[in-house]
């Protein structure tokens, strides 16, 4: 088995994820034993003490493995990735949520898929066999499914899960795609994968399970649906 000489920078944007970030870091280290990686926490000035917990984690795991690159206040998801990218020393970048809905146990399967296929992007999908969700009521499933069907019909994106944000990118590819994205919030995730698809980057999918967050408060609300539809229209016309 060839030794994997790649380095993976895992960018985790956080806001009030004091407990989740500690749990996440533990699980990443548990599941990526023989892999060269770093975790970049981009915290937007959380008032709940998230940064203090990150510093404690740095004492346990090392400041070279856990980088805290904070920002003064909530400045948005897209710019959090850009900020994290500036400090990433790996040749691959993983983006994932801090709330444990993205489980680090899937990281090896992302890495394996990329090594097998040479893909530029590996994206996690909740909607295929082997994947799935838990903790979603009927309304949320309906919204998700409806959103996906609409997006598939209009955009022909080439991936089954457009709004997912658990992805592995070749660093140069992420830099290229992110520079052409202008959306905010959740639409941003869609714009990234659609633009990557339009640029004909090799994209592969792996099934992931998504358990709705246990701790903390979700940042998904009603106005997000309106933003989604506006975003879809924007992507339809500009990509």
């Amino acid at each position: 088995m060839e030794i994997n000489k790649n380095k993976y920078s895992i960018i985790v944007p956080t806001y009030n994820e004091r407990l989740n970030i500690a749990l996440l870091v533990y699980l990443v280290f548990k599941h990526l034993r023989d892999v060269d990686f770093e975790i970049i926490v981009v915290d937007d000035g959380s008032p709940d003490g998230t940064q203090e917990v990150v510093k404690q984690l740095q004492q346990v795991y090392g400041e070279d493995r856990i980088l805290l690159r904070a920002r003064p206040r909530k400045l948005g998801l897209g710019t959090a990735y850009v900020h994290g990218l500036k400090h990433a020393s790996g040749n691959f970048v993983v983006i994932m949520d801090a709330d444990l809905s993205h489980h680090p146990k899937y990281l090896p399967s992302f890495i394996r898929k990329q090594l097998e296929t040479g893909a530029s992007i590996v994206t996690g999908t909740r909607y295929v066999k082997g994947g799935g969700v838990h903790g979603w009521n009927l309304m949320r499933k309906l919204t998700s499914r409806g959103a996906n069907v609409l997006a598939q019909t209009l955009l022909w994106p080439g991936v089954s899960d457009l709004t997912g944000s658990f992805r592995l990118y070749r660093k140069s590819v992420l830099e290229d795609v992110i520079s052409s994205c202008v959306s905010k919030g959740y639409v941003f995730q869609m714009e990234m994968i659609v633009r990557a698809s339009r640029k004909c980057y090799h994209i592969e999918e792996v099934p992931i399970t998504f358990v709705d967050r246990v701790y903390g408060s979700s940042k998904l609300g009603g106005s997000e649906i309106v933003e989604y539809l506006k975003g879809l229209a924007y992507l339809l016309v500009t990509t």
């Binding site: 500690a22 749990l23 533990y26 203090e52 404690q56 346990v60 499914r145 069907v149 358990v211």
Partner: protein, 88 residues
Amino acid sequence: MKHIVKLLALLVAVSAFWIGLLETVIPRSYAWLLPVYFVVSLGCYGLLMVGVGLMHFPTCPQEAGLLQQDIAEAKEFLKQRGVDVDYD
């Protein structure tokens, strides 16, 4: 080529085909209604896709239990090493 251009090209092709039909074999009254039938069928297909997807929505109830185990294991490990995990 931008995606919207592709879609518009497709729309133009389908419209040309429809106009062609108008001029020829099919009785006018039916041909005029074709776009309506098409849009309604598309809508029904979309609803069907949503319904089927909803029925076959993959779920993973066992994952919640596994996650709880992971959380307990993580808290145990981190507490011993001085990381504050008592926030709830």
